[in-house]
């Protein structure tokens, strides 16, 4: 009886929403958060498939799937061109978009938790610029100066250089903005501007020294793009990004406690110093790896966590996975806009995220002035 079953399901759904609403009124958003995460998984999967199906060229996804599943008439149904478009262009691009988006959003969450402020974002406070400097340094001075680094890390050299750049900036920032466990928001943002300008100036010097080929490589970091996505880049960035993402769920309780201040977190039994060290390294690693493969894509780390906090609240046990999902999904969507809006030409994705993110950021500022200690 499909009809009564549908009715049944409908009633259960109504009961669930009623439960969630009642819990929300008593300040309990745990179940809401779990439902939102489930919806985000569906949304992410749909977007992922959708992005593989859309593009300037026509290519049939269903044929590719049948080919992958080993259909007997495989060679007739799939042209080499379709196979390349789907498997070597769109698929790596979607995978990279998911990875980078998740990494940017989670870095934002962790950094905001650590600095106890919703405005702290690796892109905004100069960590991304530091990471770019590391990457540009490697490209321009190259094997002459960093020969051993290449020898040691192979094609991981670029993400590692960006990681080191990001780590140094994060540590500096922390040192400057945090005194006795209290972070001054004004100092944080202003120090971020200064560090961004300083690393930008160094990058400028390097660009000045660069030859034509290096210049093309370097310019890419300014705008941010997923256009160069390929499996080699993914192989270089994915382990670092996945590793730092894997650490963050273990930081969730500590990040929750630290929203009350570092002293209060210690009182509640959190080993604060160790937790901070892990958080800083994982933010720098995730940001560095993302910057190395896709350049400076801004605002994902600030928009995504903020939106989610409005819906499911700031509990990091749910905020971290939800941000990873929504960050990846939104970056893939932004990339779809970037490559179709001026098709067949392509807009750098950094421009798209800035157009969406910057006004949103201003909106956050206007509505949250009183509660963010500004």
């Amino acid at each position: 009886m499909p009809r009564s079953e549908a009715l049944n399901r409908g009633m259960r759904l109504t009961a669930l929403t009623a439960d969630i609403r009642a819990e929300w009124r008593s300040g309990n958003r745990a179940r809401l958060a779990r439902v939102v995460i489930a919806l985000l998984i569906v949304f992410a999967a749909a977007t992922f498939v959708g992005s593989i199906m859309t593009g300037a060229a026509d290519a049939s996804l269903s044929n590719v799937v049948r080919w992958l599943l080993g259909a007997s008439d495989a060679d007739q149904i799939l042209s080499v061109r379709d196979r390349i478009i789907i498997l070597d262009i769109r698929l790596p691009r979607a995978v990279l978009g998911m990875l980078v988006g998740a990494s940017l959003a989670v870095s934002g969450v962790v950094m905001q938790g650590l600095f106890r402020n919703p405005l702290a974002d690796p892109g905004l406070v100069g960590v991304s610029s530091g990471a770019s400097l590391g990457a540009v340094l490697l490209i321009v001075l190259g094997s002459a100066v960093f020969g051993p680094l290449f020898a040691l890390f192979g094609f991981y050299a670029l993400p590692v250089a960006a990681f080191i750049g990001g780590l140094v900036t994060t540590l500096l920032l922390y040192r400057i903005a945090t005194r006795g466990g209290q972070t001054s928001v004004a100092t944080l943002l202003l120090a971020g501007i200064a560090l961004g300008a300083l690393t930008g100036a160094f990058t400028g010097v390097l660009i000045f020294m660069a030859d034509d080929k290096q210049l093309r490589d370097v310019t890419f970091w300014g705008l941010g793009s997923l256009a160069g996505a390929n499996w080699t880049k993914i192989a270089a960035a994915a382990p670092i990004i996945l590793l730092s993402l894997a650490v963050t769920p273990f930081l969730a309780r500590g990040l929750n406690a630290i929203t009350l201040g570092e002293a209060a977190a210690f009182h509640m039994g959190i080993p604060v110093q160790r937790m901070k060290n892990i958080a800083i390294v994982s933010v720098a690693a995730a940001t560095g790896a993302s910057v190395a493969v896709s350049g400076g894509i801004g605002f994902v780390g600030i928009v995504v966590p903020h939106l989610l906090r409005l819906v499911i609240g700031p509990d990091h046990r749910y905020l971290v996975p939800a941000s990873a999902l929504l960050g990846g999904t939104l970056l893939i969507l932004a990339d779809m806009i970037a490559r179709t809006i001026a098709s067949p030409a392509e807009l750098p994705i950094g421009i798209v995220t800035a157009f969406i993110g910057a006004p949103f950021f201003l909106w956050i500022l206007l509505r949250g002035r009183t509660t963010m200690g500004l």
Partner: protein, 263 residues
């Protein structure tokens, strides 16, 4: 028992606590009073383990703080700071349940009950669904106390007394809630736990404290029962404020009126 012996603390290059010793017994409310900047809060921070002593030691139930991990300490004592600003939109329920970070049972029902009881105890029964940021200063202070009560829900655990360290717990409360919170602290002592509170209101302290420790310039100037500590002489010596200490005829609880003071 919390034991502080010969404690000295240096803060930003300046020595602010000069070799003080004190004891806080379970079952007793110990109050630390003194003028602004005399080192009350610093002493409490050293007792909580937040500030390392320059010399001397602090022990809790016979164990030196140095040898205890943060989570072990969190099971022995809870700390209420002076004020807490949160820049994320937590609900009251979520803040209070942060207190369950250490030592929560895996029993969801028990955790719910502990959190609900804690809110009820600070007279914020219907506030679970409100946003912390939208509460008044006094209400926020009570939410934080409920959070601490979640952490140390039983005054005695595993046969050992546990402690509440409260830094000016009633500083921004109205008179009714000042009494509620002080009574709550007393009840905690009555059930076998210990309380150390930094206090400003001398009359409330005299009413509720078992022992009163009066500090000035990083040293202890007087300690003992409120009736022995709160005298005309110590008031003038410690606060630089000549005034008359009186006593309630029946209970013998001392009180001071600012009207009697001459500066």
């Amino acid at each position: 028992m919390i034991n502080v012996s010969n404690l000295s603390v240096r803060l930003g290059g300046r020595q602010v606590i000069h070799g003080i010793s004190l004891e806080a017994a379970p079952g007793a409310l110990t109050a630390i009073v003194g003028p602004n900047g005399c080192g009350k809060t610093t002493t409490l921070k050293a007792i909580s383990g937040e500030l390392p002593p320059e010399s001397g030691s602090v022990s809790i139930n016979g164990r030196n703080l140095k040898g205890l991990k943060p989570w072990e300490l969190a099971l022995k004592r809870g700390v209420l700071p002076q004020s807490t600003v949160i820049s994320f939109p937590f609900t009251v329920r979520e803040v209070v349940r942060l207190g369950l970070t250490a030592g929560a049972t895996s029993d969801a029902k028990a955790n719910d009950r502990i959190a609900a009881d804690a809110l009820e105890a600070v007279d914020l029964g219907g506030f679970a669904g409100r946003f912390y940021q939208e509460l008044s200063g006094g209400e926020q202070q009570r939410v934080q106390l409920a959070r601490v009560l979640c952490q140390i829900s039983d005054p005695v655990a595993d046969g050992e007394p546990r402690y509440l360290l409260l830094d000016e717990p009633v500083s921004s409360l109205d008179i009714r809630h000042q009494l509620t919170i002080m009574q709550l602290a007393r009840k905690f002592c009555g059930r076998g736990g210990g309380v150390i509170a930094v206090m400003h209101d001398l009359n409330l302290t005299a009413m509720f404290a078992d022992r009163m420790i009066m500090m000035k310039s990083g040293v202890i100037r007087a300690s003992g029962a409120p009736g022995d500590v709160l005298t005309d002489e110590t008031m003038e010596a410690v606060f630089g404020c000549r005034m008359q200490v009186s006593a309630m005829p029946a209970a013998g609880v001392p009180f001071v009126l600012p009207q009697t003071a001459t500066l």
